[in-house]
Every structure is written in structure tokens, then in C-alpha cells.
């Protein structure tokens, strides 16, 4: 769908990437300064790049042309770019900002086969992003979360065929993130628009994206499913880990509406999680769980008669002791889980690599 073969240079920095990105939500993951935003801007046509970009059969960039390099102007590319810094127009109120996009949307011809879906209406985005009360407000006195919601709505109103989201959760505190995440999930998933999601947070990537690109120092290091990508980053690019969370991916096998629980198959073992508030999971859906090492307890034998519902069998692959804690890495099937326990507990259990253990996860702590 989106074929890239681009080279971008600025001062000492060079970005060189060739890949083909498919439908769904694809993360562009990498540390700060790895070229993620540059890649996004090159796709949008906002920075000059060398090479080729083709979207649904239409050339957006071709600098190999004999006579004159071709670059499709940004305003002709059917993209919706959500900038990292909120960039609402200060001279217009909220409705004015939304209408700016509405007025110009019909001028852009859709690429490829004509989009079969209905255009996204102003009424629909006002409803989805809960903006009815804000329409007449000046954008200069909106809160950070409100600004993001207006920007997301504005992006959708351009009727984009490709969404480019540049770290949409950066600069927000935890409370704001929780407020915005459901809207972001709606933006990326409900409209079935192919999406590139730039982030340097594995937690976000694992929750919102099906596929991921890993970029480091301007080069593409990995492109595949998020599940494989997270494992790749853990195994090969440990310096890029921005979190001590573990990520377990599972498939939904059962839903229990009485207890509001969803059962997953994680590497052949069962894990129960509370039903998501903003995501209606169906049997067969893939889910990635973010697990804090401190939420994982360990047992030498399979325990019984306890409230914890999730007990996963695994093998110790690594033990790292710090001053106060011991971090145990377990392998569960093809996945990795970390547990943080106290030094005293580690000594008492006499843990050694290769040992088989039971990891205890509280269902209510899983998301």
C-alpha cells in the first residue's frame, strides 16, 4: 500500500529506509533522534527527501526521474498528520479549526480505487471526540487534552486515506494519557484508515499497533508484527528499551460477560484479564498485555487456593541482582516475562537459570 525507498540527509544525520507498509496500525518505534519524525514528514512531503514514495499506486515522490524530480505537494496527498506539538490555528475558534479541514477536504482526490466508505462528517467527529461543548471556545484556552481531541477531529475531517500520528501522547501527564487513549484508539482503529504511529514508548505501541517498524540511527532494524517486534527489541536492542515492562501477547479464546473477564491463550497457557473499557474484543483478536515486573510474583510449585487467577509456567533465563531487588527473566513459550522480587525472596527460593517456575499475575492489574 505505502511503498517507501527514501534517503534523507540533514547535517550529520542520515535516514535510509526501504520497506512496504500495509493496512492497519503500524508503529514507527525508535529512540529520540532516530529519525522517526523525519520519516513521517518525508511521507507527508514536508521535508525534502531522495528516493521513491508510492501510495496505493500513485507516486508521491520520485527523485530518480531523468528530467526533473517529482514531488507531489503536501496539500495533494490524502494524509491526516497529527503533529506532536498541538498546532491549532490560534486565530480561529474550535469550530473554525474543524471547518478549515472540512472546506478543503473535497479538493483532494482520493488515491487508488474510490474510497467506498462514507465521508467522515463533522457531526460524527464532534460526537466521537466529545467536542459539542467546545465548538465556540477559543483554542488558546483549551486544556492539553482538549487540544489533542480537537486536533484528532481536525485530522479526520480531511478524509485521510493515510493517518500519520507523531507521538500523540507525548507531553501529557498520566491522567491526560488515560483520558486521551480511548479517543486515540478510536482514531486509529474505528475508521479502518491505514495508520503510522510514531512513538518511543513500547507500552503505547503494544496497545495500539498491530505492526511495527524499529528505527535506530536512521536505519530500519525490524519490520513485522508488534509481538515479534517487542521481542526483537527486548532481545537485540536492549539499549532501546524505554521501559521495564514485559509484554505478553495472547489470542482471545473466551469472553465471560458475567464476570466481565476475557480469557486469552498466551503461548498455550490461559490468562484472564478484565474486559477493556474502550476496546470491544472478539474471539480470535490479538492482545498485548503490559506487565510491571513488580506485579509478578513467583512460586516454586503450582499454588492452589489463592485469589490470583493467572499462573503461568516458565523457565528462568536470566537473574540480575541490584542492590535491593532481583530481576528474574522467564521464558514462557516464545515470550518473555520479567519479575522483580526482593533479594531476600530470591535467596530463599534458591533460584538458578534453567529452573521451572510459576509466575503469578493478578488479573485486576492487567490491561
Amino acid at each position: 500500500m505505502l511503498e517507501l525507498d527514501i534517503n534523507f540527509q540533514r547535517n550529520e544525520f542520515e535516514l535510509d529506509i526501504a520497506t512496504t507498509i500495509g493496512a492497519g496500525v503500524t508503529a514507527i518505534y525508535g529512540p529520540s533522534g532516530s529519525g522517526k519524525t523525519s520519516l513521517l514528514k518525508a511521507i507527508a512531503g514536508l521535508v525534502p527527501a531522495q528516493g521513491q514514495i508510492t501510495f496505493m499506486g500513485t507516486t508521491w515522490l520520485d527523485t530518480a526521474q531523468q528530467i526533473r524530480a517529482y514531488q507531489r505537494p503536501t496539500y495533494q496527498r490524502p494524509i491526516g498528520l497529527l503533529f506532536q506539538d498541538d498546532r491549532l490555528f490560534a486565530h480561529l475558534n474550535v469550530l473554525g479549526n474543524l471547518n478549515f479541514a472540512v472546506k478543503r477536504a473535497p479538493r483532494r482526490k482520493p488515491e487508488g480505487e474510490r474510497h467506498p466508505t462514507k465521508p467522515i462528517s463533522l457531526e460524527a467527529v464532534v460526537e466521537i471526540f466529545n467536542l459539542a461543548m467546545l465548538l465556540e471556545r477559543s483554542v488558546t484556552n483549551l486544556s492539553g487534552g482538549e487540544r489533542r481531541r480537537v486536533a484528532m477531529a481536525q485530522t479526520l475531517l480531511t478524509q485521510p486515506q493515510l493517518l500519520l500520528l507523531d507521538e500523540p501522547l507525548s507531553g501529557l501527564d498520566e491522567a491526560r494519557k488515560r483520558e486521551i487513549l480511548p479517543f486515540l484508539y478510536a482514531l486509529a482503529n474505528e475508521f479502518a484508515i491505514p495508520t503510522l504511529y510514531v512513538s518511543h514508548q513500547l507500552e503505547e505501541v503494544s496497545q495500539l499497533c498491530q505492526n511495527m517498524l524499529v528505527i535506530d540511527q536512521g536505519a530500519l532494524r525490524f519490520h513485522g508484527t508488534t509481538h515479534a517486534g517487542v521481542n526483537f527489541v527486548e532481545a537485540k536492542l536492549n539499549n532501546l528499551m524505554t521501559t521495564d515492562l514485559s509484554f505478553l501477547t495472547g489470542t482471545v479464546i473466551e469472553k465471560n460477560d458475567t464476570y466481565h473477564l476475557t480469557t486469552l491463550d498466551v503461548a498455550g497457557q490461559r490468562v484472564q484479564i478484565p474486559q477493556s473499557q474502550y476496546r470491544n474484543l472478539q474471539t480470535g483478536d490479538q492482545v498485548t498485555l503490559n506487565i510491571k515486573p513488580s506485579d509478578v510474583a513467583l512460586a516454586l510449585a503450582q499454588p492452589s487456593g489463592i485469589s490470583i487467577r493467572n499462573i503461568l509456567q516458565g523457565v528462568i533465563t536470566n537473574i540480575a541482582a541490584t542492590e535491593r531487588f532481583t530481576d528474574i527473566t522467564l521464558t514462557i513459550g516464545d515470550q518473555t516475562l520479567r519479575s522483580r522480587i526482593t533479594l531476600a525472596a530470591a535467596n530463599e527460593l534458591k533460584l538458578v537459570p534453567g529452573m521451572t517456575l510459576y509466575a503469578l499475575l493478578k488479573s485486576s492489574g492487567l490491561s
Binding site: A44, G45, L46, P73, T74, Y75, I79, G80, L81, F83, D85, R87, F89, A90, H91, F100, A101, R104, A105, R107, R108, Q154, T158
Partner: protein
């Protein structure tokens, strides 16, 4: 009263301001956003009229405008009039002399507005002209007001350049500042007082206007 001189001065200042709004906008935009190596040189050239003695500018312009010079000759051929000692000559001279007063406030405004809004406008499907008129212009409005007022006022206050290039022809090149000079020369202090008083009051009102709307932009220039 020197009504003709006052009218001519206002006409010159208005025409200069309007033309500079058109010419100064792209130049200021380029200076604010270009990464070209020539940018500092162009910026320095644009600011030259701020530091050069007006008589020096007037002297060079007089030479350029002379019908013996290709530029003066070209003008004479297409208009049938000379640039020296004519109103057209005064306009061209004022454009050069007042250029920094238009370009610098605009440049500061454009730099302050930054590239962000125009990038958003492009991604929302706006073409460059649309993006400029509906995003950059309204966001830069205060800068435009400052730049226009300063250019207008500065053109009214010209003396050295216009004396060198235009001389003192009533109804054609006799501006208020030149009229004052002549009244003083002929010891006609009452008239000189009146005209000077008008200019003093005008200057104060203009600066008051600028400082009360946009303090920072004005500070940069003055």
C-alpha cells in the same frame, strides 16, 4: 499653509507603504525561513538603509537615476519622464530607504509564527496561496500593522534622500520636510513652526499607536 506639500507627502507615504507591503512580504518570508547561505548577506543589504547617511543613498540614487545611466535611461524610454527630480523618482528612492522598516517587523512576525501553522494548513489540503491568506496573514496581522505604520511614518520623515533625488519642485517633489527646510532658510519661522509642529504631533501619535498595539516588534526596529 503648505497644503500641497502635506498632500504630496501623504501620497508618497501611502504609495510607498502599499508597494512595500507587496514586495516586503516575500522578502521577509524568505529571510525568516531560508537556510540559504546568502541569507545573512541579503539581510545585511536590507538593513543598510538603517545605518547609511541618507545623503549617501541619495547621492548614489541620483547617479543611478540620471538619464546617462542605463537604469535612468531605461525608465526615460518607457515612461518619457526622468527619475530625477520627479515624483516617480521619490517613490523609488522611498522604497529603498524605507525597506527595512517594512521587512524587519514582518520578518520577526513570520519567525515568531513559525513554520508550524503553514505545515498544518498544507496537510489539511490548503494550497500555498490559500494557506498564506487564511493562516499566515491573520496570524501575522499585528506585525503587518506595525510594519505599515512604521514604513508610512518613516517615509513622511525623509529629508536627505528626497532632497538629493527630488529637489524642491512644488506639487511634484516638494514634501513637508523640504518645505520646512526652505521656510527656515528664508527666515519664515511661523510656517516652519506650524509644519514642524504637525510632524512632531504626527510622529508621537504614530509611535503611541505602534507601542500600544505591539511593543516587541517595534522595539526590534527602533
Amino acid at each position: 499653509m503648505e497644503l500641497t506639500a502635506i498632500w504630496l507627502t501623504l501620497k508618497l507615504a501611502s504609495i510607498t507603504t502599499l508597494i512595500l507591503l507587496v514586495l516586503g512580504t516575500p522578502l521577509a518570508w524568505w529571510l525568516a525561513h531560508s537556510t540559504n547561505k546568502l541569507r545573512p548577506a541579503v539581510e545585511a543589504l536590507t538593513a543598510m538603509p538603517l545605518v547609511m547617511p541618507p545623503t549617501v543613498i541619495g547621492f548614489y540614487l541620483l547617479l543611478l537615476f540620471s538619464p546617462d545611466n542605463p537604469i535612468g535611461q531605461f525608465w526615460f524610454q518607457i515612461t518619457g519622464d526622468t527619475l530625477t527630480f520627479s515624483f516617480s523618482g521619490l517613490v523609488v528612492a522611498s522604497l529603498i530607504y524605507s525597506l527595512p522598516f517594512m521587512v524587519q517587523p514582518l520578518m520577526n512576525t513570520f519567525a515568531q509564527v513559525g513554520k508550524g501553522p503553514i505545515e498544518v494548513a498544507y496537510t489539511l489540503g490548503a494550497k500555498p496561496w490559500d494557506a498564506f491568506c487564511n493562516v499566515i496573514l491573520p496570524l501575522s496581522l499585528r506585525g503587518y500593522i506595525t510594519a505599515s505604520v512604521l514604513t508610512f511614518a518613516h517615509t513622511i520623515g525623509e529629508f536627505g534622500v528626497v532632497l538629493m533625488v527630488g529637489g524642491n519642485i512644488p506639487g511634484e517633489t516638494r514634501l513637508v520636510s523640504i518645505a520646512i527646510y526652505e521656510e527656515v532658510e528664508t527666515l519664515n519661522y511661523a510656517q516652519a513652526h506650524l509644519l514642524s509642529g504637525i510632524l512632531v504631533a504626527f510622529s508621537f501619535i504614530v509611535l503611541l499607536l505602534v507601542y500600544s498595539t505591539n511593543r516587541r516588534a517595534a522595539m526590534r526596529v527602533l
